[in-house]
């Protein structure tokens, strides 16, 4: 499981710090304005938003890669790209996924990642890339899901800290408080199939649309 600590560290060159997932707009409008509202927003993404969907997609990619089922893997790649709700979320998912695969192919080569490159020549969304690399290095699915979702939360908490409404300590409290939600979402995804893809994060999706025309921006999404 050690590769997860490296791959999901902020030092791994995927550029995660550049994306707020629409939170920059949610902070601008006051939808996220303190620790409680930030925690609630992120809990929603884990329960019925992008966190949940990314976990389902990661699990499907892990299984397809572990089974060397190229057709299924291409189906996951295609669906993960098509599910992005806006231009910026599409960018966030695919830029990080492409960058992750580039770094893994260079520093952590494995057959599963080579196989993905051979069967799919389009963009690869980040959760799909993570799932394939984890399967390729024999990292168990359950641990990968928990670590990926915790990193998702950590990155967005870091974004909210940089945007101002909460401090570092509040940020750490939110991450700790969301561990149980992370575990729940990971357990759900571990037993899921692609039929379980589904969300209801209407406000989060609209925030990513509105972010495109936000006047002053720190983040690319």
């Amino acid at each position: 499981m050690l590769p997860l600590l490296v791959w999901l560290s902020p030092a791994f060159p995927v550029g995660a710090f550049a994306y707020s997932h629409g939170l920059e707009w949610a902070v601008e409008t006051g939808q996220v304005k303190d620790a409680a509202t930030a925690e609630a927003w992120l809990a929603d993404l884990l329960a019925l938003g992008s966190g949940r969907n990314d976990a389902v997609l990661l699990a499907a990619a892990w299984r397809a890669a572990a089974a060397t089922d190229d057709e299924a893997l291409c189906g996951v790649c295609e669906l993960a790209n098509a599910l992005q709700p806006s231009r910026e979320r599409h960018l966030e998912a695919t830029q990080q996924g492409n960058a992750f695969l580039l770094a893994v192919r260079t520093a952590w080569p494995c057959a599963a990642v080579d196989r993905l490159a051979a069967c799919w020549n389009g963009d690869v969304a980040y959760p799909v890339a993570l799932g394939v690399a984890a399967a390729g290095h024999g990292v168990p699915l359950g641990a990968t899901l928990e670590a990926a979702l915790l990193a998702f939360v950590g990155n967005l908490v870091s974004a909210v800290v940089r945007l101002g409404p909460i401090g570092q300590t509040d940020g750490q409290r939110i991450i700790a408080a969301l561990v149980s939600e992370v575990r729940r979402a990971a357990a759900f995804a571990e037993a899921s199939t692609l039929d379980d893809v589904g969300s209801a994060a209407f406000r989060s999706d609209i925030a990513s649309l509105r972010h495109e025309t936000q006047y002053s921006r720190l983040f690319r999404s």
């Binding site: 949610a26 939808q31 996220v32 509202t37 609630a40 927003w41 992120l42 929603d44 993404l45 019925l48 938003g49 969907n53 295609e78 669906l79 790209n81 098509a82 599910l83 709700p85 806006s86 231009r87 910026e88 599409h90 960018l91 893809v197 589904g198 969300s199 209801a200 994060a201 209407f202 406000r203 989060s204 999706d205 609209i206 990513s208 649309l209 509105r210 495109e212 025309t213």
Partner: protein
């Protein structure tokens, strides 16, 4: 005089033997006199009417007046190369309280080279306790112009209905030239009011809408789309990527969302909406 009693929504649940299975299967082709319906099959209480002499504008009518658990509607549309059609519905589609099973709607569209389809149904109203599973699948040629607008209202807001348990499971897949370019998967299952109250989910919204416009010039129309949202009271925004444009709306008041969506569509499409939208 006795006060008017509220209708007992339970009474609308009907036994499986008389549940409806609606079918609309239509093929449109370009002719010397514009686009015409070349083949049309209607069953199970659904009809397709063509109220206008000019242009191909079709209105889908549910003579049963709504759907309940176990009812099905399968809509299949084929537009041959160059055909142009606008489809809407006569009224909002009401989905009544279910006794457990879901109502199912499937819309499948196959769009040939250069075809233009606007799928602009009026809103779907999910009554408290209703269960709806909906699938929308489009297979289109590369140069097709497709405009889809779907809106959903959660509960009979105007009559103050408390929204209880329910299911809304909605999946869209749009394939262009064989490849999946747009997918949407909405899933609300369980206590809808509590879910819709959550900040990143409904944020208190009781009505949502999504418009997807896929066309060769879709991305160049982003500024038009944003201008068409000017003055909207709903929470809404537009984005364009990969030859598609997407607009999303959420509002607490369904009437506000409907007005914003109608204004957006008439400005963005540079023409009035089908007449049925105006009453």
């Amino acid at each position: 005089m006795l006060g008017q009693s509220k209708p007992d929504v339970q009474a609308w649940a009907v036994p499986a033997s008389i549940r409806a299975r609606g079918v609309i299967d239509a093929r449109f082709a370009r002719t010397g006199r514009g686009t015409q319906a070349m083949a049309l099959r209607e069953a199970g209480g659904y009809r397709l009417k063509f109220p206008k002499a000019a242009g191909c504008e079709a209105v889908l009518i549910n003579t049963g007046g709504g759907m309940t658990g176990g009812d099905r509607l399968d809509v299949s549309l084929t537009l041959d190369a160059g055909a142009e059609a606008v489809l809407t519905t006569q009224s909002a589609e009401k989905v009544y309280r279910s006794d457990g099973s879901a109502a199912e709607i499937t819309v499948a569209a196959e769009l040939g080279a250069g075809a233009r389809l606007s799928w602009l149904p009026q809103e779907c109203i999910l009554f408290s306790g209703s269960r709806l599973r909906r699938r929308l699948r489009v297979a289109m040629a590369e140069d097709v112009t497709l405009t889809l607008a779907e809106s959903v209202v959660f509960g009979r807001v105007a009559s103050g209905e408390t929204l209880g348990e329910g299911l809304f499971d909605d999946r869209w897949e749009i394939r262009r030239g064989g490849g999946l370019v747009f997918a949407e998967a909405v899933r609300l299952d369980g206590p809808l009011a509590a879910t819709l109250a959550r900040p990143a989910l409904g944020g208190g919204a009781r009505a949502v809408a999504t418009v997807v416009h896929v066309a060769p010039d879709a991305e160049s129309r982003l500024e038009d789309a944003r201008a068409a949202l000017d003055g909207a009271s709903s929470d809404c925004g537009a984005s364009a990527w990969n030859g598609m444009l997407c607009v999303r709306f959420a509002a607490e008041a369904p009437a506000v969302l409907r007005a914003d969506l109608a204004r957006f569509l008439s400005v963005f499409r540079s023409g009035p909406l089908p007449r049925v939208w105006q009453c």
